[in-house]
């Protein structure tokens, strides 16, 4: 009897029965290794305790706010909101409650050149080897990984993007994930492979229809940039303001490849975002960017790892948070330089703009360097609105709230300016704006 209660508290709504029902709901013909991995993941999830106050990997997080209880597996959606990112796309996949809802297919010439934008379920059937090589292939590096295990266990479907050698996509691929309905639990996933010298931009969006519904999301993505590939990833998290969100992103960068990722954090009541970059061969470069607008009692918990595994690799991280009201942010970042990764150039910076006396920003920058010929810099700052700048704007008739908003955008601009694409830049600005007008 007591074991039963204990098990239940560890799994919440994600019971063994729920897992069995999930497996039963999957289409026939999925590879056995994948089902086996899911079973193993469920066992890990069920055995691991919820993060506790003394967990180093969750330092400063409100672990009391973490819960697995009360969530449900939502039915298929009948409608989704209008796609909020008004830019031209090469292809689009829209998922609602974990199922493909709609799609815009690639142009025929891109299909003919071997580009694939499809569901993970289809990819597991048709491109099994590729999926097996890359899907959730990196071990958890941000603690024991209870939520990553939960993601793997319940992942039903997601996006699969493959851009073959030397192919460049002119417009971004749009991947949309919606959670619809109260208590909905979703497990979004995107697997993106840019083969050697390929070039692609991914725009991923996470959102809800009703901003006040409690929801649960445990998502992940895998980005792989082959030799000389150029991969740009834009992620926008805009879940309902009562959602609990976990997202674990992994990026592998090969020789002379360049990955730029920008994560925009707007939604959820409590959101943890883990971002791992592995620079695996000389010339690899990962630029890691993030912007957060934290309001009311929101908590954004960002954990990053820049792992330099080969010489002459470069990483550049810039995370900027704007904090209002009683919001809280955590940035915990670590640069790891392996012994043979000489001539590493690594940069890490977390900047917080405090727009309220009651907001709280925590920064834990870190270095772990085994090589001796490296250049690594890191730093964290918190600042307030400059009263002279505020007065200058006010003296032009702009009210204080709007002035602060303009100054916050000014603060973000350094990050947005890193984007090469002006349309994307404008679309992101608009999206951030909605958070202020709410």
């Amino acid at each position: 009897m007591s074991t039963l209660t204990e098990t239940k508290s560890l799994v919440g709504a994600f019971t063994p029965e729920a897992f069995a029902a999930h497996l039963a709901s999957l289409p026939p013909g999925l590879p056995a290794w994948w089902l086996e991995r899911k079973r193993a993941a469920y066992a890990r999830f069920a055995a691991l305790p919820l993060p506790g106050r003394t967990d180093e990997a969750w330092r400063f997080s409100n672990v009391g706010g973490l819960t697995l209880d009360g969530f449900a597996f939502p039915a298929a959606a009948t409608a989704v909101p209008f796609a909020p990112i008004g830019i031209k796309k090469s292809a689009k996949l829209v998922f609602a409650n974990g199922r493909l809802f709609s799609r815009e297919v690639l142009a025929a010439d891109l299909v003919a050149r071997g580009v694939i934008v499809d569901t993970l379920q289809n990819a597991l059937l048709r491109h099994e080897a590729l999926v097996k090589e890359h899907l959730l292939a990196q071990p958890p590096k941000f603690g024991p990984g209870k939520f990553s295990a939960l993601h793997e266990a319940f992942l039903a479907d997601g996006a699969f993007v493959f851009v073959p050698k030397g192919v460049e996509l002119g417009h971004p691929v749009g991947l949309f994930h919606y959670a619809l309905g109260a208590d909905a639990a979703v497990f979004p996933h995107s697997l993106v492979i840019a083969d050697d010298n390929a070039k692609v931009t991914i725009v991923e969006y996470f959102g809800s229809t009703v901003d006040t519904e409690a929801q649960f999301a445990a998502g992940a993505n895998d980005l792989y940039a082959g030799h000389g590939a150029q991969l740009t990833y834009i992620g926008k998290q805009d879940w309902s303001h009562r959602a609990l969100s976990f997202q674990s992103n992994s990026t592998v960068v090969r020789r002379d490849a360049r990955v730029q990722s920008l994560n925009l954090h707007l939604g959820a009541r409590q959101a943890r975002h883990e971002s791992l970059s592995q620079l695996q061969a000389p010339g690899a470069f990962s630029e890691m960017l993030a912007l957060t607008v934290a309001r009311e009692t929101q908590e954004f918990d960002q954990r990053t790892l820049q792992i330099h595994q080969a010489p002459n690799t470069k990483s550049d991280l810039l995370y900027k948070n704007a904090l209002l009201d009683q919001a809280k942010t955590i940035f915990s970042g670590l640069i790891v330089v392996d012994a043979d990764a000489q001539k590493t150039d690594a940069y890490q910076s977390n900047r917080n703009l405090m727009l309220s006396e009651e907001a709280e920003a925590n920064s834990l920058p870190g270095l772990e360097i085994q090589a001796n010929d490296v250049r690594c810099t890191h730093g964290a700052t918190s600042s307030r609105i400059d009263p002279e700048q505020e007065f200058y704007l006010q003296s032009r008739g702009i009210d204080k709230t709007t002035a602060d908003e303009l100054l916050t955008f000014g603060f973000f601009e350094e990050v947005l300016n890193r984007l090469a694409d002006d349309d994307l830049h404008a679309a992101l600005r608009t999206l951030i704006q909605t958070k202020f007008t709410k």
Partner: protein, 251 residues
Amino acid sequence: MPSLVIQDLHVAIGEKEIVKGLSLTIKSGEVHAIMGPNGTGKSTLSKAIAGHPDYTITAGDVLLDGTSILAQEADERARAGLFLAFQYPSEIPGVSIANFLRAAVQARMAEGEELDATAYYKRLYAKMDMLKIDRKFTSRSVNEGFSGGEKKRCEILQMAMLEPKFALMDETDSGLDIDALRIVSEGVNTLRGPDLGVLMITHYQRLLNYIVPDYVHVMWDGRIVKSGDKSLALELEAKGYDWVKKELALA
């Protein structure tokens, strides 16, 4: 007729009194120049009128069209028709001139009224052309990396866009080269008219050759100690402030 009335104004920074009982009435259409040695409180006066929160008004009043503005925030005063061209304009990284001015123009529109973007840019470009400011500046961050002269020109651009009733211009001429001085002065003269009153703070008589004032005041230790017409500026230039000091000592 619209007026800006400064009545026995006392302004303190912290415990220190800087402006010590200054009275001045500017009527619409008039240009008043204030001259005075460094540290005498000219910028303090202009920032206090504009509503800078660091400056405490310990006594006196400022009336815009007969209504006291002292209870209003800086942005309300600006929307009521006041404009301050700063001696040292702030640099605002990441906020473009276009977005900044747009927000300022929008702030003056009625609730629910939409800004006509095409008309806005047309007007902005016309004013920029008048002040010989490169149109590329619209996408640059406000004052960031601007030369001293570019900053001053940008202040006048804002004034031209916002069409205030009363403008306080704090050393708009300093840092301007000869050509820029002429361009900026011409710009101000274009704006000059029955609907604008100007309080112009300057150290140099040469500005007053371009923008001819109706009145010239000498400010000394937080007060206006002498007033006259444009010839007073010439006299000051010739005799220096020691002359004023001696006159003061005699009085």
